[in-house]
Symmetry: C2
Subunit: 606 residues, 2 copies
């Protein structure tokens, strides 16, 4: 029944096929003349095969004059082994070539708007690439990226399938419940003045599936957020969304790590459970200044010397600590010769981006400590500092004194920058770290209210739950216990890969009374709770199980696995940075009739 038009693809012929008559289809990747012969690199998704047109062998040889780059050809010919010295070891088909007996120009091509080789692409404006995305996607790097992306997602899915997870599709046409990011709205044609919304995530639906008893759910889910363009964001993105009932954090982690171990094989990357570390949020901030530390970086851990310098003579340090700030630093090994005044000034610029007012330093020289601030410290204080940082001759210690968040953010940034500069990162490795025990709340200074650090649906840990259940019955109670609440922890977890957050999850609240208290703490009125989440909270009155889950940002993970420069390189048809699609010229104007049917108008006043 099968009737294959081609006998082989352009990536599969080998020395074993010599003397076979084959039919190939492919695009003209490049061509060159050699004597009377013409050599063409014929390309398809699977590879490149060299084909040879020769006047004495090839029927209709004269037509070759019409061939140009990216013409689509079909050729019939005989596989020959290349003569010695002309084989191409970088190509799997490099030992053979196909001598063309007959061929057909299946479709011609206009001159391309840009070249498809790496160099040309680097010099091509991204919007032009996106306008001709179908050409951009012909590049072997891009083809590989999307084939790998597909395989990676399949591998994750298969492992979950094998563990009794059910993939269930949740609606794309959902309810608007803005909270955090903006919803993208869809005007309803049947109910004028009412709107559906694209889901920011399947969060509430997946939790309802747990209430339904589906026990182990996942979905490769498209999500939508109308956030102001941050680097590497798109209006739509894909996440691996997962939820489980009757489980523990350890079981969930183990299952997820197993899926990752399987899926990373697609990239020939051997990872094991040992590559997954664990740290609490507080410890991560203390040691690395970050809630997504890069575990490929060894050393340069931050040390807190606030206690030591609280009463020292250096006013910048002691004043900072007395005003509730912190002094932390890190020791960079053996860089003393490179760390000129100019170099340190440039590091200071980095620190300033994160709000630091300056950068203090100590250099450990053969002749003792060298630093402009040395005069403010006693011998004993200096010795203690050297001890704390385990500093040796040749090292440089950097310090930031400021309020907590600035100290941590700026030292984290410096640590990452220096690790790159000093070549301390093994780019071939993948290192993961689970971060636990996130704060339950943070204080929104601007609006003078609590907000949830993770999500209002995340479960407080046992101690926090007890505190809230015993003490909170109103928004006023929350203000009263501000300090206590800010110290509470949630049963939340993130996963960072190579210093990038790739996953976020939590145990969910499944008890209506507790959920209500959380909403009270973040100052949501009962009316608003009812309107936005009443339909959802109702479900908890019917024997809801305890459940937990997480969501992975797949675009970002694939981008990292591919070593791609942008998330747009791993999305087939992305919008540009301004959320315009140069390919389809979208968004675009629509007929007035369409708007009339939807009962909406474009605002005239701006």
């Amino acid at each position: 029944m099968t009737n294959n038009i081609r006998t082989h693809n352009c990536g599969e012929l080998r020395i074993e096929n010599v003397e076979e008559t084959v039919t190939l289809y492919g695009w003209v990747n490049s061509f060159k003349n050699f004597g009377q012969k013409k050599f063409v690199d014929l390309r398809d998704r699977y590879g490149i095969t060299q084909i040879v047109f020769a006047p004495e062998v090839t029927e209709g040889f004269d037509n070759i004059q019409n061939i140009g780059r990216e013409f689509l050809l079909s050729v019939k010919g005989i596989v020959k082994s290349r003569i010695e010295g002309q084989t191409n070891k970088n190509r799997e088909t490099g030992e053979i070539e196909v001598i063309v007996k007959s061929f057909k120009i299946e479709n011609k091509s206009e001159v391309l708007p840009f070249g498809l080789d790496k160099k040309s692409i680097e010099n091509t404006n991204e919007d032009l690439r996106l306008e001709y995305r179908y050409l951009d996607l012909r590049r072997p790097e891009m083809q590989k990226a999307f084939i790998n992306r597909s395989k990676f997602i399949k591998a994750l899915s298969r492992d979950l399938d094998d563990n009794n997870f059910v993939e269930i599709e949740t609606p794309m046409i959902a309810k608007s419940t803005p909270e955090g990011a903006r919803d993208m709205l869809i005007p309803s044609r049947k109910y004028h003045g009412s709107f559906y919304a694209l889901p920011q995530s399947p969060q509430l639906y997946k939790q309802l599936l747990m209430v339904s008893g589906f026990d182990r759910y996942y979905q490769i889910a498209r999500c939508f957020r109308d956030e102001d363009s941050r680097k590497d964001r798109q209006l739509e993105f894909t996440q691996l969304d997962l939820e489980m009932s009757f489980t523990s954090y350890d079981e969930l982690r183990n299952l997820v790590e197993n899926s990752f171990i399987e899926a990373f094989k697609v990239y020939n990357s051997e990872i094991s459970h040992e590559d997954f570390e664990t740290i609490s949020y507080d410890e991560a901030i203390e040691r690395f200044g970050s809630d997504k530390p890069d575990y490929r970086i060894n050393g340069m851990e931050l040390k807190n010397i606030s206690n030591l310098v609280e009463n020292c003579d250096f006013g910048v340090f002691s004043g900072c600590v007395k005003n509730g700030g912190e002094v932390k630093g890190m020791c960079i090994k053996g860089v003393i010769d490179k760390y000129s005044r100019k170099k340190i000034e440039s590091l200071q610029e980095t620190a300033k981006i994160y709000g630091a007012k300056g950068l203090a330093f100590l250099k450990i020289t053969e002749n003792g400590i060298d630093s402009p601030i040395i005069k403010f410290f006693t011998e004993d204080e200096l010795n203690k500092i050297v001890e704390i940082f385990d500093a040796k001759i040749g090292d440089v210690i950097l310090f930031v004194a400021d309020k907590k968040s600035i100290v941590n953010d700026s030292l984290d940034a410096l640590r990452r920058q220096i690790a790159v500069e000093e070549n301390l990162i093994d780019e071939s490795k993948f290192k993961f770290v689970w971060i636990n025990d996130f704060p339950l709340f943070q204080w929104d200074e601007e609006n003078n209210r609590f907000e949830c650090e993770h999500s209002p649906f995340s479960m407080p840990n046992e101690e926090a739950r007890k505190f809230i259940e015993e003490n909170i019955n109103s928004t006023e109670d929350a203000i009263k216990y501000k300090d206590e609440l800010l110290n509470l922890k949630a049963d939340c977890y993130d996963l960072a890969m190579n210093g990038v957050e790739i996953c976020s999850g939590a145990l969910r609240i499944h008890v209506p009374e507790l959920q209500k208290k959380i909403f009270q703490i973040i100052n949501m009125s009962q009316e608003k709770i009812d309107y936005m989440f009443g339909w959802f909270l109702k479900a908890y009155n019917y024997g809801a199980p305890s459940h937990r889950g997480l969501a992975f940002g797949l675009d970002r993970i694939v981008m990292m696995l591919e070593g791609a420069g942008s998330i747009r390189d791993v999305i087939a048809f992305p919008k540009n940075k301004n959320w315009f699609c140069p390919l389809t010229q979208s968004p675009s104007k629509v007929d007035d009739l369409q708007l009339i049917e939807l009962g909406i108008e474009i605002s005239k006043k701006e």
Copy 2:
């Protein structure tokens, strides 16, 4: 590392587990008292296990009084074999029960708004079921449906994966190109007055992927159509979308049939390539009056007697034929005793729904032919009719005389109805038929113009392509060759399963000049072509390959496989028939601020 909270699920304990101590989690499906003991059917996604509370064994026995239906319990107990006569053969766990040593009410439940047993569900308003969808989904039938749905889609996907297909995600935030059904629009916040649209299908994107050289693509794709509610439609639906380059119809069919054969195993349904028949559109209409015949029905094929009756004395028949109509009929075997005047009148009512003015009949009795119209026919004519229909004593022949479409539609409807009435359909079987050689165009009487029977992107067959290329250069040419164009065929194909269209596909046009002529024939202005499809047609200038594909309506297929009454029974969170979601109360009003940000207003005039 693993720390399982439950030792087993509620579906897996067997006689081999007797005397094991187990921990189960589940919902109280039902309970009964027996003496001092309480028996509970504990249910989860995997099954039901009988658990027994006994005062002398169960810790905290008195708390059982508080248990109600759908309470969530965790129990620790010992597996015991049931005493003879009390086993339950309908249940996989029916040979054992668990004697509870300790238990916990994990979460209580309010009284449900409706019972979860079949009878209660039948008497429950569908909107109420949808409002409490998370309870509706607890029913074992529903759980099975979604687990099977997931497995079925996975099986299809895996087979395609194994055949080098790449799943590539295409945008959900796309361009509005209304054509046929209405687009659902998304106002752009960044570009006021412009709109994105949800894709009606990935059609254009997948064709661009072929231009990119991805060669074998598929996607489990969400699609969106704002069509006026037809039976079993939703605003969003899921299709298996597939496209291939460098292939033949036979190869595509074979691959797709293989995937189906694999996937049907999920439903323990053994199908083979032999269950896939092939028929041309014209033959299907001629023999069955339908372009989606139900191949489970044997016999009752339609016969055309137009030639025979063109000059007969029965004016209804001869007049019809002379006016360009047709007379067709079908023979129903052995029903003469059942086909009273009243019965035939009721069949006539069916025919009338499809526009027929009446239904003529001949009954073949032991004493010759019996019919009110017998007097209009000669002996010879009657003999020929009997011969054509191969009618035997006991049979009844039904006739419709009218214009072609009415004859075919009404006889198709009668054939399906009678097949059910006469029990001629084996409901356990799945019969497929590929329908080929669809007409390229049809004539839109209302708007006095051509439209494409399938899609404007479908390739004419060779003869048709030649005709168009040679004769058509403008919309005027098309009108001039109206009759010829209406006879042309396209390289299109549908697949019908048990008389329902489940798939539609075609070879695509990949030649810009031909595509332009097709748009001319359907009277699309160059301006409109450029605005709507210019960005797309441009791609064909760069060595586009010949490609073909198809799309399967997965919701409908799963519905049929499940024997579900409605498509809503196989979609986790569907809208109701009025496209309202009773669960989330969506669509809903949004904040004025959201609309201001989007630059739109709700129209005041209606």
